[in-house]
């Protein structure tokens, strides 16, 4: 077996160990540790794989880019994992299975990001989606969680069906399901072009559903609100990261930008997502719904990178720079979002913006972290989010995508309003201090906040090391 499979294999081993442990004796701490250790070893294994040369086989492709994305995925998973224990202790359910499903979802993500074949991609996707259904509906008593679980089950099944249909049509055209062969020989046309475009649209529909892009976004707010917080964090980060990477690989490998209709569809979806996300977020009271809409908008922004074509209008926007933009944006957005979710996990009783009122004067450090994360999401300079936006704008300007850029500017101004609402609530004075009693401000959460601040602010002020690293990866 090739060394490249080690990280997934280690996680699989961890899953099996938890299963075996469950047969003998239930122990929350043990499951927590097993999952944590396997994640950690997988992370290190992934780290050692960074310098390995490229390799690919029928199902998977391993190169510096996929290794980097896998590393990112494992890091995000690790940060989320570190918060699960506290949260799980508060619910009245069997706790150990959560780790099982969690690891399976991470494995699904790992399979997806390095898949090179519709079969492996689909396996990864289903592994992740099915685990998510369990993770979403984990709290059996909670009506909202049940509803969210059913919603996700049905909708993700439909999305998968769309993807399968698209893959089938592509198979009809190309006679193979492997990404590299499917997407490259477009010379021998068996089917008419509209059939290929239809196939692409089918696949897009499925992927856009997972990315919650307009018009497939209606589920996301209910799901974010209804499902357990940790699951929401994973849905917003892991699943979207993996799916976006697949989308990116399909579009660039297949050179789907050659079809004008596809370009129009992507532009329309991007613009609609930016505006829908930001406008719907405006008056949300619930924090998680707000984050859900913000994530629609952010993936709308990110969709712009799919439109970069190598027409060399300005030569620094090479393929490599486009990839750098994608990776930088993903890193910035994911770490910011993970930070936001870990702050939410430290504030277990707080569900709406109004309940945040006055937090800054009681728990300045947590509030300050949340404030900076909001500024990062809004893209204010000296935060990581701004650097990501800068990459995106620079790349988009060099491609002269003026329509999308104006949509980006307008919608981010609208979006600024709700990020500011959170900050405004934080600094208002409140008379009622009792609601802050349940804040989890132990040593571990403080150190996690420091880590988040170091990433968001440190890399925001001195981004050169990260951008250098990403340049090497993409170069």
């Amino acid at each position: 077996m090739s060394v490249y499979y080690y990280p997934s294999f280690i996680l699989l081993l961890g899953t099996l160990m938890i299963l075996i442990q469950l047969c003998f004796k239930r122990n929350h701490l043990a499951s927590y540790l097993i999952s944590g250790i396997s994640l950690l070893i997988a992370l290190f294994a992934q780290l050692f794989l960074q310098d390995k040369s490229n390799s690919s086989d029928a199902l998977f492709i391993f190169n510096t880019q996929t290794q980097f994305i896998s590393l990112l995925l494992l890091m995000v998973a690790g940060i989320i994992w570190s918060q699960i224990y506290h949260w799980l202790k508060t619910i009245n359910e069997q706790q150990e299975e959560y780790y099982l499903l969690y690891l399976l979802a991470v494995i699904g993500g790992l399979i997806m990001v390095s898949s090179n074949h519709f079969a492996s991609f689909f396996l990864g996707l289903e592994l992740m989606s099915l685990s998510f259904i369990g993770l979403i509906a984990y709290c059996g008593i909670d009506q909202k969680a049940q509803e969210a679980g059913i919603k996700y089950l049905i909708l993700s099944a439909i999305a998968s069906a769309f993807i399968l249909m698209g893959a089938a049509i592509l198979y009809l055209q190309f006679g193979s399901l492997s990404f590299s062969s499917v997407l490259q020989n477009t010379s021998t046309q068996i089917l008419p072009q509209w059939a290929v475009i239809t196939a692409i649209i089918f696949i897009f529909t499925g992927l856009f559903f997972k990315l919650s892009l307009v018009p497939c976004h209606l589920w996301v707010a209910d799901l974010f609100e209804g499902s357990p917080l940790v699951t929401t964090a994973m849905l917003a980060t892991l699943s979207k990261l993996a799916v976006f990477i697949v989308l990116w690989r399909l579009v660039t490998l297949g050179n789907w930008q050659q079809y004008q209709l596809i370009i129009d569809v992507i532009s329309m979806v991007a613009i609609a997502s930016m505006f829908a996300g930001n406008i719907l977020g405006l008056l949300q009271k619930n924090l998680l719904r707000l984050i859900a809409y913000s994530s629609i908008a952010h993936f709308g922004y990110l969709l712009i990178v799919l439109l970069f074509i190598n027409n060399n209008t300005v030569s620094f926007s090479s393929q490599s720079f486009t990839e750098q933009t994608l990776y930088f944006y993903l890193v910035a957005y994911l770490f910011t979002l993970v930070g936001v979710f870990s702050i939410f996990m430290q504030l277990p009783k707080i569900k709406t913006i109004d309940e945040l009122t006055g937090l800054f004067w009681h728990k300045p450090f947590i509030a300050l972290t949340l404030m900076l994360l909001m500024l990062s999401l809004a893209g204010i300079p000296l935060t990581l989010g701004f650097m990501a936006k800068f990459y995106l704008v620079l790349a988009a300007v060099s491609q002269q995508l003026w329509l999308l850029l104006s949509a980006l500017v307008l919608s981010s101004i609208i979006g600024l309003f709700y990020y500011l609402r959170v900050i405004m609530a934080l600094i208002k004075t409140s008379d009622d201090d009792s609601k802050f009693t349940e804040i989890n401000a132990g040593g571990s959460s403080v150190s996690l906040n420091i880590l988040i601040l170091a990433i968001v602010l440190g890399l925001g002020i001195f981004p050169s090391s990260l951008s250098q690293f990403i340049q090497n990866i993409a170069g």
Partner: protein, 500 residues
């Protein structure tokens, strides 16, 4: 490193003063005062070779020029440089920092530590804007200085503060995003045309970009600066922000934050886009003239003292816009002088309004009147600064407005004539302000509990008077400092240069 010190000192001072609140709520303001005084130290060696060595000014634009690596992948450098223009504005910033501190001294009693942190950080951001010569760094300072200002308004402001702070932030951010877009387009075009990827201002002005897009890029930059100036269609954040902000924040806002707009036009728009700015000029002249009249007329109908002064700012900053786009050396000198004089006279008016509000708990013109009997000294200052704002000869504002009108008359006689009528309107609202508050019907009977200016207030105000008188009587040293000959500005050659 002296230029970097100028930014680091207030940042550190702010942190110390925020931390010191744990020990005593009086300590933060003392630390802020100490910071503001220490802040002058890096300036002193500069004073030495600037004010007293005119030869240094003749040889190059940049007196101090420091840079270090920041983001090598985009060739972005942390590049600070100082020339006469930024020197003047930095002196203004430091002075107004002291004025703001003086007005906050008794007014701010809650959360003092965080207040002075924000105050000092705003000033640090403004200084950064005046010093940054790398476009990216300039943009970063431009945006970041808004965040502490937002906190100043939304935490310590008056009744409707949240709305005002939000409006302020969103307006200026919108301008900022437009600037980001234009900046990226500028860099991209420059790279396309010369093959050099650089954010360095000095390199960018050597090869101005050309092509169809230039006009739009210039427009993007200009709108971003117009929002801050503020010029007519984008001004509506200013009255709200000024009215709701605490006095110290109003002072900073009027005295230095608005000046970044004018500075940006002079420093970036005019040299970077020589051709496009000539194309833009007629529109900008019209916007400026309309702004002058509109601001003055709006000031006239206000009943809220702070709003009145805020609209008078809109009117005065219209003159700056007029001066910048006249492409005439006198007008440009006048515009810079207007920035300085307006900075001092308007912030003095805000300080006075703050004092009145502190004593009477109202800013409503209809509830004030006849303050002279209670507050003779304060009213005398009010008279002085009111007259300064209407452009009395002998004070800085007169020199500025006169030069701007003389300079722009040549190219745009009609617009200038219209703009000049703004001076009459200025007299109307200034005299109304003086009449309704300090003289007129006595609505506030004598009350021995309300005290006149104390020593601290008196010193603050009297020093501002002297600066204005100096600017009005002997402005030449100021003009000598501005290195117009090096700034790569195009001037439309004057046929009737003998006007002066």
């Amino acid at each position: 490193m002296s230029l970097f010190l100028l930014i680091i000192i207030p940042l550190l001072g702010g942190v110390f003063s925020c931390y010191s609140e744990r020990f005593s709520s009086d300590l933060p303001k003392k630390i802020a005062l100490a910071t503001l005084l220490i802040w002058w130290l890096p300036i002193i060696p500069l004073l030495n070779n600037m004010a007293f060595d005119v030869n240094a000014l003749q040889t190059s634009q940049w007196l101090v020029n420091q840079s270090s690596n920041w983001i090598p992948i985009f060739n972005i450098r942390a590049h600070l440089a100082l020339d006469g223009l930024s020197f003047l504005l930095i002196i203004l910033t430091l002075l107004m920092g002291l004025v703001a501190l003086s007005s906050a001294w008794h007014e701010i009693t809650k959360r003092t530590g965080f207040f002075y942190l924000n105050l000092l950080w705003t000033l640090a951001g403004v200084i950064g804007v005046f010093l940054a010569i790398d476009l990216f760094l300039f943009f970063v300072f431009w945006e970041v200085m808004l965040v502490p200002m937002y906190f100043l308004i939304s935490i310590w402001g008056h009744e409707n503060r949240q709305y005002a702070a939000l409006k302020f932030f969103i307006f200026t951010q919108a301008g900022g995003l437009l600037m980001l877009l234009s900046m990226c387009a500028l860099i991209g075009l420059h790279y396309q045309q010369t093959g050099i990827l650089t954010f360095n201002y000095i390199k960018l002005i050597q090869n101005p970009i050309s092509g169809d897009l230039t006009f739009w890029i210039a427009l993007g930059f200009t709108i971003a600066f117009l929002v801050k100036l503020p010029a007519l269609p984008f001004h509506s954040w200013l009255p709200d922000a000024h009215t709701q902000a605490p006095t110290a924040a109003s002072v900073i806002l009027a005295a230095v934050l608005l000046k970044t707009g004018g500075y940006g036009i002079i420093r970036f728009v005019l040299p970077l886009f020589p051709q496009a700015s000539i194309e833009l000029a007629p529109f900008m002249m019209i916007i400026g003239a309309v702004g002058i009249i509109y601001g003055a007329m709006m000031a006239f109908v206000q009943t809220d003292l702070k709003r009145l002064v805020a609209y008078s700012s809109v009117s005065h900053m219209g003159f700056v816009l007029l001066g910048c786009f006249a492409f005439n050396i006198y007008a440009l000198q006048g515009a810079i002088m207007q920035m300085l004089a307006h900075g001092i006279s308007t912030s003095a008016l805000f300080v006075l309004v703050g004092m009145i509000q502190h004593r009477y708990h109202t800013r409503d013109l209809n509830q004030l009147g006849g303050l002279w009997i209670n507050l003779p000294k304060l009213s005398a200052f009010g008279l002085f600064f009111g007259i300064a704002s209407l452009g009395m000869p002998g004070l800085g504002n007169f020199v500025a407005e006169f030069l701007i009108l003389v300079g722009s008359f040549e190219q745009y006689p009609t617009i200038t004539v219209i703009a000049a009528s703004g001076l009459i309107l200025a007299a109307v609202y200034s005299l109304l302000l003086i009449y309704k508050t300090f003289f007129g019907q006595i609505k506030r009977p004598y009350d021995s509990k309300i005290s006149d200016t104390n020593t601290k207030e008196w010193i603050t105000l009297i020093s501002m008077c002297f600066i204005l008188i100096y600017l009005g009587l002997h402005p030449q040293p100021i003009f000598d400092l501005i290195p117009l000959q090096f700034m790569e500005l195009t001037f439309i050659p004057s046929t009737a240069g003998a006007l002066l």
